[in-house]
Symmetry: C2
Subunit: 389 residues, 2 copies
């Protein structure tokens, strides 16, 4: 992997280096409309090909502007310039198309993709992969499976799954601390697709036998909010939130998902004391006064979630109050002190958290911890109703 800044000399040198050593060069970025988008020109120079405008690309670009009620500035057309002989890869997520040049005797194959991930990824998966397949010889079947865990530090997970790291030389298991939890990445490679698949399955089974089931919230593209949404759908339940220190982050995470309106109906961001009183009916006796437990307390987390459950009638309610930092900490309630209130099918509980990171991570972990509590309550509920049938 090579990287170079938007500078014509450094780009020429870096791309030249890649061309001299590889059979296939994949580039990302530098295809936009502006002064510092230079890749197109450097490729044309090195491959000694003239550039010509791709009419379909211009049409698609113009359409993008028209949908927004704007006229396309002429300077955008430079993006539609493609080396003659290259296959254009149309961009349906942005304006700059990519292109592909077949390998020749002197030069490697070239796949030029736009930089923004939201444009690059679909273009690669939907258009580029099929072009690259003929270039791959002596096929190796490779599979990746990611197991997502939450609630334990990396070192604890690492110790629990020691037995799986070297059970088979064709399988590599990696462990990664993410800002959303711990990932175990199972990567298997072999000469048969069936073998690769069974190696991954066997590894996953071994991991599941080594850790408590509740530690695992999902696989591959699963996320904590998606796990909660799936369980809410199964339980035919709705989630409502009342957030203080997380300030809308839980609501944001839930509504990031298409279809979340089926399970998430409403949320409150009661950041001030007055709003906890106005919207949730939290008693002023709990919030203020020398004897009051104060806004960051188990009592207020409980009053918030009880008020929310009463007003919304949602089956699962979460409240969060705490000190995200960097300011606001005291000796008895340092930064990272957080209380989560949970009301699940009529049962109310409060869970203290002690977080030790910065504001962003504290808010993130408080939100994920709250969702994890909802996840565990929903799992218990579903197991219970399964037992009854």
């Amino acid at each position: 992997v090579l990287a170079a800044p938007d500078d014509i000399h450094q780009l020429r040198q870096t791309i030249g280096h890649a061309v001299s050593r590889a059979d296939l060069v994949i580039s990302s970025g530098g295809l936009g409309p502006t002064e510092d988008d230079l890749n197109r020109q450097v490729f044309a120079d090195i491959w000694q090909l003239d550039l010509a405008e791709d009419a379909e690309a211009v049409y698609l670009m113009r359409q993008r502007f028209e949908v927004r009620g704007r006229t396309m500035p002429d300077s955008n057309r430079v993006q539609a310039l493609i080396p003659i002989g290259a296959k254009t890869l149309q961009n349906h997520q942005g304006t700059a198309p990519g292109f592909f040049l077949e390998r020749t005797e002197q030069l490697p194959a070239l796949l030029a993709l736009p930089g923004p991930p939201r444009e690059l990824k679909p273009m690669f998966l939907q258009q580029a992969i099929s072009l690259l397949t003929p270039h791959v010889q002596g096929r190796v079947f490779s599979r990746l499976r990611v197991v997502h865990l939450f609630g334990q530090p990396e070192s604890t997970v690492n110790e629990a799954v020691q037995g799986v790291f070297r059970w088979n030389p064709l399988v590599h298991v990696g462990i990664l601390a993410r800002n959303y939890g711990i990932d175990l990445r199972i990567h298997a490679r072999s000469s048969s697709d069936a073998e690769t698949r069974s190696l991954v399955e066997e590894t996953e089974k071994r991991i599941r036998s080594l850790v408590p089931p509740a530690w695992i919230y999902g696989y591959d593209d699963d996320t904590m909010p998606a796990a909660v949404m799936e369980l809410l759908l199964q339980a035919d339940a709705r989630l409502a939130t009342a957030e203080s220190c997380t300030g809308g982050l839980i609501a944001k995470l839930m509504t990031d998902m298409p279809g979340s309106s089926q399970v998430f109906s409403q949320g409150l961001v009661t950041y001030s004391n007055a709003s906890k009183l106005d919207w949730l009916g939290v008693s002023p006796d709990l919030l203020e006064g020398p004897e009051a437990p104060g806004a960051v307390s188990a009592e207020v987390a409980e009053a918030m979630v009880r008020g929310l459950a009463l007003r919304t009638r949602a089956e699962v309610c979460l409240s969060v109050t705490g000190i995200a930092g960097p300011d606001g900490g005291t000796p008895s309630k340092p930064v990272g002190t957080v209380f989560v209130g949970l009301s699940a099918f009529g049962i109310v509980s409060v869970h203290p958290l002690k977080l030790v990171s910065d504001r962003e991570m504290n808010r993130n972990l408080a939100s994920l911890s709250a969702l994890d509590l909802a996840r565990r309550a929903l799992m218990s509920r579903l197991r219970g109703s399964l037992a009854q049938t």
Copy 2:
């Protein structure tokens, strides 16, 4: 810039390549406690140095666990192993310390940093830079200034500022489309600090003369939410939000900032029709029925923001309703149809948006557009009160 996967052979090859070509090698990552954290060992091998435990690093690590009420697993101690003779860079944001090795006749200087940006950045800025300074010869003064713009496409900004791209060979101006707007990056380099500074200032002045003032919302580390917070503080005003399609994202963006409780008191995520009625008093006649404008309409955005202003008495209120996608679009209201309601110091207005991206970007742009409307209203207000004094 070179990158390599967590594989001992590829790491050896990549680091070996760097060592043979550079006077200073900077690495990030691979210093953690797990099986695939291999950089420490590869460095020890290539530099032919034994590893020894750094007692302070073990102490700091253990402390991090104790604050959270946990016991440190012994497997964490491997992170405290540092090549003998290296200077340890303690990690105050995570567990793995970094280290620095001075250049020798045979080997380049080595700076090994942990991978997570939240650990790497402070370690680099607070500890590593001063170690690197003696290695930099023939000093060049370099300055970067970023101008943030919102509300115009990249190509429009590009055309407006054409005159600034090549006004001086010591200044490079780059333009970048970010998911939070358009950035103009002014980068000046010269042999004197004063000259570099004045080149940046002159370029910034030229940019300001080429675009309307309202396009620019900030510089360098400024963000749209921070610009709104600053203006709210100046106007001694509070912001409240009622969000449907953005689902709490505006509240999240505001409360990301320390000190936001001074200006942001509360927010509602009224995702369902019932919650728009319950919390904001939006009339059911607007929401349902064959003749009703429906939840995504200028009428409902207006009713939401009026209800919010009435109930919260906040000086600046924002409401957002729309179709973020991918589903829910109709021929008359396609995905990306969004209405923003603004109530600023008693004046109510509604602003339609037509967005053309995916769910995530549509929600992001709807939130930033709403905040941009609040920003412009606050600027007018502050200009007005300035004129009166």
